[in-house]
């Protein structure tokens, strides 16, 4: 498939994630939108890795060009998993203190 289709798909997913962060007030939905954005970037990284592999294969068969992109996707997933564990702990703490997951409740530092 042309690489532009993958770029457009990833951009659409990323912008849906941005719209979610901007329009929702539930902290968990905002967090899920961030996951959506991370996944859009992962898809684009894999597509670009296969694009570079296609270019390199036309010159030389049996190369491993493009491996770095997929390794990078793996590390993005690692960081996302760590981020989710800490972030959900923060949301649970916030719910325990405020009895709400509304992010507009957190617009002040005192009290």
């Amino acid at each position: 498939m042309p690489i532009q289709y993958y770029i457009f798909l990833s951009l659409a997913l990323f912008c849906i994630g941005i719209a979610g962060v901007l329009t929702r007030r539930n902290a968990i939905i905002i967090f899920m939108s961030i996951e959506l954005m991370l996944n859009a970037v992962n898809l684009l990284l894999v597509a670009f890795s296969k694009m570079h592999h296609a270019v390199a294969t036309a010159i030389d068969k049996g190369n491993t060009v493009g491996t770095d992109g997929q390794i990078f996707v793996f590390f993005v997933m690692v960081v996302a998993a760590a981020e989710v564990s800490v972030g959900l702990a923060i949301i649970v703490m916030m719910y325990r203190n405020a009895h709400s997951v509304d992010v507009n409740f957190l617009n002040r530092l005192k009290n």
Binding site: M1, I3, I29, A82
Partner: protein
């Protein structure tokens, strides 16, 4: 249209519709289930690109572990009712418009980029996404970041336990 193109368009439509439903559904549990749908569609794209290792890791880590964590948190907070606070309608409109403008700018930018005009992503063949190649790279070139990520996980675990415990 051959089978790969049909699968590509089907998976893309599935991903976009599910992603929109994540935002539009009022019930947080439904949002989580639609997000699982997005992850399955993206895993299908990875399989289509012959990135098998990433596809399986995506399913196990995202659809399996992270989404279960989200569901557990929603269940613990008893949020599965439609009493979610809503933003003002103008704020929602402003958010949607700014995201749409961002999308429009980037799409017109990508359409004009000369480096991307005739490039294609290799579908269904090319063996860089197989576990043999990725494992070799991960444990030779990238072994130091791999080990550091274990420290990251340890600190995330400690952080989650410290934040989550009752004071």
């Amino acid at each position: 249209m051959n089978a790969i193109q049909i699968l590509f368009w089907f998976l893309s439509a599935l991903a976009l519709v599910s992603a929109l439903m994540v935002l539009l559904s009022k019930n947080p549990v439904h949002s989580v289930l639609w997000l699982v749908g997005v992850f399955f569609a993206i895993s299908g794209h990875y399989i289509l690109l012959n990135a098998q290792f990433i596809a399986i890791v995506n399913l196990i880590v995202y659809a399996g572990a992270i989404m279960v964590l989200f569901l557990f948190v929603i269940m613990l907070m008893n949020l599965n009712k439609d009493t979610e606070p809503q933003k003002h309608i103008w704020m929602k409109l402003a958010g949607a418009i700014s995201a749409g403008c961002f999308l429009m700018i980037l799409v017109s930018l990508i359409k004009q980029a000369p480096e991307l005009q005739a490039k294609t992503a290799m579908m269904k063949d090319g063996d860089i996404g197989l576990i043999a190649n990725l494992g070799k790279a991960l444990f030779s070139t990238y072994v130091v970041p791999f080990e550091i990520s274990s420290i990251l996980f340890l600190s995330a675990m400690v952080g989650a336990a410290v934040i989550g415990k009752k004071d």
